[in-house]
């Protein structure tokens, strides 16, 4: 009896182990762990890292940025302003799509019109709606027209992927999404839902060809598992690690953290339309009470950069201003000055995608200066709804945020966050609105810097929003992978190679 049972158990075990046929690791494939499934490979339907990280390899953009963040030619070899509202692009004539069709100026016009056409219902419309007209003006010429002067236009057009007009119109939106064809350095091969997306090198690429013949993007939601993949060599590159996970792989023999400062700025949004954060003293107390450098050194391994305003050095419109120093004494005095108003419990909204260590550290610092703060964690959708919709008086007092317009321009940051006309703003200040409106259509770079400096001054004086730090983005990479992370959080395969 016991013997037969033993044989039986052994049988079950070996049945399980038999399934364990090891996979052959092909070295000609670069494997990248994304943090979630790609939403779509149709570049006009979604803008998030897990999507554009993939599709920007399949498609070429009108213009692009180099590793340092400078705008450089891509599909457009050169461009010039015709007047305040018109810009002319010269389109390369040597580009072909993966199906062999040539890329023409008509494809460029079609690409932007597809997004701005309301019928497409592209979530990205707001990035391009400044362009009211696009027309082919020659065999290699395209002219874009904006309603008003629009300084960040080029920065926005960096995000314009060129799709083949004929193919998209022939197969339709749904089929294009399933089998996208672009002109980029890699071709779409397959998308196994929930598992991976496979790409292969475009041997006929007009520009810098990829090093790896094949690429695999995997979807691994848990960051701990992404680290395990790196350490076991299952993945060559993994996105979105936190500093403590980076510390885990720092000593590893196989992989290492790769860090870059992004244009993203982490901040606390104070609700300026609800007591007691409508009180300037309370807002200033919060600003004095948070030890930004302490957070950066203590929790972020010193990799992030302290932020005084919402703009980073690299952005158009930036000017240097110093913010509130860490001064808990002053903060306590301001809280005392506010009197009873300061006794109300402050709701501090946050979502799981933000670093909870920082949220908790901020809460602690605010309690230290005598404020009562309750953390309200919501999932991302509820969080966005809570901070963005409804009456200001019903929104949370403080919310954590990380902002990037992916356009390296002050307008994409300050306007949506602080102009009273924006859904994302919790500030109502007519003077500030005036400055932002003026800067938005100002084409003189020096004048713009001046205008934004004035706006920043108001924001700082009133402490409408509290910038914390410029976010460092941490990737994990195999030590043999030669690749530099960029501030715009892109994953260009043709800029990667194996050592």
């Amino acid at each position: 009896m016991r013997k037969s049972l033993g044989i039986y158990l052994a049988g079950v075990f070996s049945a399980i182990l038999l399934l364990a046929v090891p996979a052959l690791a092909a070295k000609d494939t670069v494997v990248i762990d994304l943090s979630n499934e790609t939403a779509t490979c149709d570049p006009h339907m979604q803008w998030n890292q897990n999507s554009y990280g993939v599709y920007r390899n399949i498609f070429d953009n009108l213009i692009t940025r180099d590793n340092k963040g400078m705008i450089i030619p891509a599909v457009a070899s050169s461009w010039k302003s015709l007047n305040d509202t018109q810009i002319e692009f010269v389109i390369r004539t040597d580009i072909t799509f993966h199906d062999g069709a040539p890329l023409t100026p008509a494809d460029v016009v079609y690409s932007i019109e597809r997004i701005t056409d309301k019928a497409t219902a592209s979530p990205q419309r707001s990035q391009f709606e400044a362009v009211i007209k696009a027309e082919v003006t020659g065999p290699d010429r395209v002219v874009f027209t904006t309603a008003k002067p629009y300084p960040p236009l080029l920065a926005q057009l960096v995000k314009l992927s060129i799709v083949p007009k004929a193919y998209v119109e022939k197969v339709g939106k749904e089929a294009f999404n399933k089998a996208p064809i672009g002109s980029g350095p890699y071709k779409f091969v397959a998308w196994k839902r929930g598992v991976h997306i496979l790409l292969e090198r475009n041997e006929a690429y007009w520009g810098n060809k990829g090093f790896f013949p094949k690429a695999e993007f995997r979807f691994v939601p848990d960051p701990g598992t992404r680290v395990a993949d790196l350490r076991t060599g299952k993945a060559d590159l993994a996105v979105d690690l936190n500093p403590d996970l980076a510390a885990v792989i720092e000593k590893d023999a196989v992989c290492e953290p790769r860090v870059t400062l992004t244009e993203r700025v982490a901040f606390l949004r104070t609700n300026n339309g609800r007591a007691p954060t409508s009180n300037k003293h309370i807002r200033q107390a919060i600003a004095y009470g948070i030890d930004k450098q302490g957070i950066i050194d203590g929790l972020m391994n010193g990799q992030d950069r302290i932020a005084h305003t919402m703009l980073t050095k690299e952005m158009a419109g930036y000017s240097e201003l110093s913010g509130y120093p860490y001064d808990p004494e002053k903060a306590r005095a301001l809280v005392a000055q506010a009197g009873d108003a300061a006794k109300e419990e402050l709701v501090f909204a946050t979502a799981p995608s933000y670093d909870q260590r920082i949220v908790q550290a901020v809460q602690q610092m605010l309690s230290d200066i005598g404020l009562r703060v309750r953390i309200a964690m919501m999932d991302q959708a509820s969080f966005l709804k809570a901070v963005q919709q409804g009456d200001l008086a019903a929104r949370p007092h403080i919310s954590f945020g990380r902002w990037s317009c992916a356009c390296m321009d002050a307008d994409g940051v300050v306007y949506p966050l602080l102009h009273s006309g924006s859904a994302w703003s919790q500030t109502r200040n007519a003077d500030l609105d005036g400055l932002l409106d003026e800067a938005r259509i100002c084409l003189d770079p020096e004048k713009r810097v001046e205008l934004y400096a004035k706006a920043d001054k108001i924001i700082l004086d009133e402490s409408y929003i509290l910038p914390l730090y410029q976010v460092a983005y941490i990737y994990g990479a195999n030590k043999h992978l030669v690749w530099t992370p960029t501030p715009d959080e892109s994953l260009f395969l043709n800029r990667m190679r194996w050592k």
Partner: protein, 309 residues
């Protein structure tokens, strides 16, 4: 017999419809996906436009009736986020869910039942204590924690198994164990009780008194007579495993239905959530129905006349 099946199906239909209706309305209380879809800085007008294009500007009742109408024609809708038919997503995920369920069931039934039988036969001895400890240990750890410990041990340090993915049979091992441990305990428990119950009956005592070896009694009689509770539990557990492996799938990046459901809830991709729940309901009904029918096969005394539990 067929009347019985019809009745069960009707009851299941009501339950599934109730579940889907409940979820439809509860989910819409959580807002809609528009804000997640637009990039930072989108204008209020653009947000409203996108919302309208997804149909969220319609009254809730209209949305519900439209959903029911689509459901009637087996149209599960399109994913808001991915822009592909929900059927495609569901069909691509189901095989993985079935694999994981099979793996977990193989482990939990394959090990749980014999352990349970052994525990019953060796009642009060050291081996029973040992197995009891094994079973209780498996039962007392959160799945994510045992999963992580396994990843660290077997993937990172020993390099025996891959930490994530679904590209080979080896990928299935750890998720199956993590998922199967809890169920294993349940099966061991059920088998033990069933066997102990049977052991106390007269026919077993008689047989033993006659000198029939215990092993033969076990396989002859006990296996068949203990089958009913085991089938009952198996049906329940399979339907749970099918759509409930959320944590294991997330941890091991296993592309099953649980993972896609949780991601869809976070992304407010309602059609996917509804489809997964629909699948779960159908699966649970199916499993229970099969269990009911198996009772009749195992024990011909059970006749389904419409009133059976």
């Amino acid at each position: 017999m067929s009347r019985f099946i019809l009745k069960r199906c009707w009851q299941a239909f009501i339950a599934a419809l109730g579940a889907l209706t409940l979820l439809f309305f509860v989910q819409r209380l959580t807002g809609d996906p528009t804000l997640l879809l637009v990039p930072e800085g989108a204008t209020a007008e653009d947000i409203a436009m996108l919302r309208a294009s997804l149909g969220f500007d319609q009254p809730l009742l209209v949305q519900y009736l439209r959903y029911l109408k689509d459901l009637g024609t087996f149209n599960l809708g399109m994913s808001y986020v991915q822009g592909v038919p929900v059927w495609d997503i569901l069909l691509s995920r189901i095989p993985y869910t079935l694999q994981l369920t099979a793996g977990a069931m193989l482990l939990s039934l394959g090990l749980g039942l014999p352990i349970g039988v052994l525990m019953a036969l060796q009642r009060g001895t050291l081996p029973e204590r040992f197995f009891q400890a094994v079973v209780f240990t498996g039962q007392s750890m959160p799945t994510f924690f045992s999963g992580i410990l396994m990843i660290l041990l077997f993937a990172v340090h020993l390099r025996w198994l891959p930490a994530s993915g679904s590209d080979s049979g080896a990928s299935l091992v750890m998720p199956s164990i993590a998922l199967g441990l809890l169920t294993l305990a349940t099966f061991a428990r059920v088998a033990r009780t069933a066997v102990l119950d049977e052991l106390g009956k007269d026919y077993v005592r008689t047989a033993r008194a006659k000198g029939v070896p215990l092993g033969r009694i076990v396989w002859r009689h006990l296996a068949r007579n203990s089958a009913i509770p085991v089938i009952t539990v198996a049906a329940l557990e399979i339907s749970h495993l099918l759509a409930g492996a959320v944590i294991v799938e997330t941890l091991f990046a296993w592309p099953g239905l649980g993972q896609v459901a949780v991601q869809a809830i976070e992304a407010r991709d309602f059609p996917i959530v509804q489809a997964v729940v629909l699948f779960g309901a159908v699966a649970s009904v199916g499993c229970n129905l099969i269990a009911d029918l198996l009772y009749g096969v195992v024990d011909p005394r059970i006749r389904h006349t419409g009133g059976a539990q």
